[in-house]
């Protein structure tokens, strides 16, 4: 099936490949960091060379480490090698610490290249590719202008422009080793000023690009971008200010400024790392938060689709469900669903449960960068859905059992009413007529005795029929039926009906018998003096009832009253409701139930 091509590709992305390349990259990065650190450490051009050497080494190691981490996690993404690459170019800039014209000149060119490289890296974050024409044009222009400017500089300038804060040499640096045409100082100065403004322009351009990207991206991308935007604005602002001041006046020497620059430089690799982790953190924490709140009966296909769409920040997100009936996927409405072709700008992540297809998550290709997150959410969603289905099936089966029992009781009651009870009534009437007409007093006495017997039988039968299914419940609802119970009970029962109205037969019966059980318990344990309040109410979509007594109460921890409570819970649970029993020795008992009615 062609539709499976996309998931297969997606699954491949997840396999952690090329561990050897990753290890080699890590090793090369470590060596390069040590080399760069050492170059600065022993440099005569750098003040506090030892401290700055260690700092430089650590900074480069940071870039390489973040790059290695990204690559190991997503071997098919170019982002990891790109970030590590920044570390290697950074290493080359350490040549500016060498007090000889040629290495210094190479280091300065590397520094110029690093600025263009950063522009490319930031503009392509987090995909590792320049996707929009604006991004491509901007990076192209930055590279082009830098090449032209540096060709001019290398040919004409005796002194290369100040390298800004990233340069290790800050004063009395070597000359341009490649100068072909001798010129006056003013040419070097002019080109230097132009360079610093161009650099500032590139920095501002990168910030604008990042901000623009953050606005247009789906939420999950935005979450990844925010840390980098904050870090790069900070970094670019300090960098540009320093460069412009150095070139137009003299390098600033304030300690605060240096601390800010160091923080800015360190913040960038950290932001690159944090940005990748953050999207997943937010998505998973949202999932957990939601999962701990949602009731199983509320987990519907539509709810899951909406929830995942929100969590992933992908408005185009679609969820498809495997259907054995259709031998294929169906959408949230149960209609057959065709997975997008591999060429569509949408990706499919398949979720299997116990080796069987379960869910298909159809999402923006942008989310391929966070495939583990998508898969994790998908597996959790499938588990939630399965749980909801099981809970629903169990509830439906309990409800069916309860309903069939209730129907049977109702039928019995009606059979008695329409059959035996009617016959007895008729016999009573006929006996009465016969005894009126009987002329012999002995016969009349006999007939009257028979009539009395029949009346007793009728009354007993009525009580039986009533016990099987109280007709009043069927005809008038819970409130009148319980009121009738209250009227008959040997204890004082106050009825408070806050407009419970009518509800489906199953719900009324469950509430009635549950309240009856609670009333019987109150009478049994509370004796003749117990007072009971029965409250019935209707919330927007729930029938609420409460039976509260001032009897002796019990310790809910002990299981003395277990069976009565279990049968009450079963009745209420079978119609999807819940029961709260509160009691304490000496403090009475409150049985409170809530049953949803749709």
């Amino acid at each position: 099936m062609s539709t499976h091509a996309a998931p297969a590709e997606a699954a491949e992305r997840l396999t952690t490949g090329a561990p050897r390349s990753v290890a080699l990259l890590a090793l090369a990065g470590a060596s390069a960091s040590v080399l760069a650190g050492w170059l600065v450490w022993q440099s005569p051009l750098v003040p506090h060379a030892h401290v700055l050497g260690v700092a430089k080494g650590l900074l480069l190691a940071g870039y390489v480490a973040v790059g290695v981490y990204s690559w190991a996690r997503r071997p098919t993404s170019r982002l990891g090698p790109l970030i590590a690459g920044a570390g290697f170019i950074f290493t080359a800039t350490a040549l500016t610490a060498v007090d000889r014209p040629l290495p210094y000149t190479v280091g300065r060119v590397a520094l110029a290249a690093l600025i263009v490289y950063f522009a490319f890296l930031f503009a392509s974050f987090p995909r590792g590719r320049l996707l929009s024409p604006v991004e491509r044009r901007f990076v192209g222009a930055a590279a082009g202008v830098s090449i032209v400017l540096w060709t001019l500089l290398l040919v004409f300038a005796q002194q290369l422009p100040h390298g800004g804060p990233l340069s290790d040499c800050t004063a009395d640096c070597p000359d341009n080793a490649l100068q072909l045409v001798g010129t006056s100082d003013s040419v070097s100065r002019a080109l230097g000023i132009v360079t610093s403004y161009i650099t500032a322009l590139i920095a501002v351009g990168v910030i604008v690009l990042l901000a623009r990207k953050a606005v247009g991206e789906p939420l999950v991308r935005r979450r990844a971008l925010t840390p980098l935007i904050v870090a790069s604005i900070f970094f670019a602002a300090t960098f540009t200010t320093y460069s412009v001041i150095s070139e137009t006046a003299s390098p600033p020497t304030g300690l605060g400024f240096h601390i800010a620059l160091a923080l800015g430089a360190v913040a960038v690799p950290l932001a690159l790392l944090f940005g990748q982790v953050r999207g997943r953190l937010i998505a998973t924490s949202a999932m957990w938060r939601e999962m701990s709140q949602i009731a199983p009966q509320n987990v519907t296909p539509a709810w899951l689709q909406g929830f995942l769409s929100d969590t992933l920040g992908d408005p185009s997100f679609e969820l498809a469900f495997w259907s054995d009936e259709h031998s294929g996927f169906v959408d949230v409405a149960g209609e057959p669903f065709d997975l997008p072709s591999p060429t569509a700008p949408r990706s499919v992540t398949l979720i299997a449960r116990r080796g069987l297809p379960s869910l298909a998550l159809v999402h923006d290709i942008a989310l391929n960068e966070d495939l583990e997150m998508v898969q994790g959410l998908g597996v959790t969603a499938a588990a939630l859905l399965e749980n909801a289905t099981l809970v629903g099936e169990l509830r439906a089966s309990r409800a069916r059992i309860v309903e069939s029992v209730e129907q049977e009781r109702h039928r019995l009651e009606r059979d008695l009413h329409d059959g035996a009870q009617q016959r007895l009534t008729t016999i009573q009437i006929k006996l009465a007529v016969a005894s009126e007409e009987a002329e012999q007093s002995a016969l009349r006495a006999e007939l009257e005795e028979l009539a009395a017997e029949t009346a007793a039988a009728a009354s007993e039968l009525r009580a039986v029929a009533h016990g099987i299914y109280p007709p009043l419940l069927h005809d008038a609802g819970v409130a009148p039926a319980l009121r009738a119970v209250a009227g008959r009970a040997p204890i004082r029962i106050r009825m408070v009906d806050r407009g419970v109205g009518r509800a489906p037969a199953g719900v009324e019966l469950a509430v009635y018998y549950c309240a009856l059980e609670a009333l019987q318990n109150a009478a049994k344990h509370g004796g003749p003096d117990v007072q009971v309040v029965v409250t019935l109410a209707r919330a927007s979509d729930e029938v609420v009832f409460e039976v509260r007594d001032d009897g002796p109460g019990f310790d809910p921890g002990s299981d003395g009253d277990g069976i009565g409570l279990v049968s009450m819970r079963d009745r209420i649970g079978a119609v999807g409701g819940r029961l709260e029993v509160r009691s304490a020795p000496g403090a009475g008992t409150s049985v409170r139930g809530m049953v949803p009615v749709s």
């Binding site: 329409d418 009043l472 008038a476 009227g487």
Partner: protein, 229 residues
Amino acid sequence: MKDGHALRVVVGEDSFLTREAITSLLEDTAGIDLVAACEDADSLRSAIAREEPDVVLTDIRMPPGHRDEGIKLANELRETRPEVGVVVLSQHAEPAYAVLLFEDGSHGRAYLLKESLKDRDELVRAVVTVADGGSVVDPLIVEELLELQRRRRDSPLDRLTPRELEILGLIAEGRSNGAISEKLVVTKRAVERHINSIFLKLNLRESDDVSRRVKAALLYLSGERVDGS
């Protein structure tokens, strides 16, 4: 008898046996003219439209719904034919049904248990009373209610004298002051004094309208106060 002519009665009862029994009871009764006997709610409605009876005698449960068609019909007739009296026959010794029947007033309504049909006088009394605009509640129901109330501890009924209890029962049955004085062989003045005392002791609002006080007494005995306290 109403204005000298026999009371025209229509019967609705789905059980053949009971219908026959009721028919035989009423056919032999002077002053009652049984004009139709129907087996379901719909044919009963058309018989009422056709025969324009003085009294309708109906079962509570009837086809097609087998629910409380009799009570529904009685409430319907209060709108469409207020002059028609209705006797509802029931298998349920359940005062709540009488309360349901009296929801919009107990004027011209009677609630009778089927087992009371054996007493022809009781049936005839109910038919004649509702034709007259009065109310009747089966004495068996009232008796049971009084019994239940008296069994309770701290029942407010303990405050009543035996004679007052007896009168409260008769009120709940729908008897007028005249009927009560006749039955107890006391003067109407004495009955009125007793009734005042009962209503005062039970903190019930008194009403001169007999049919309204039936409902009040019935509700009171069913364990529900209607005094607004």
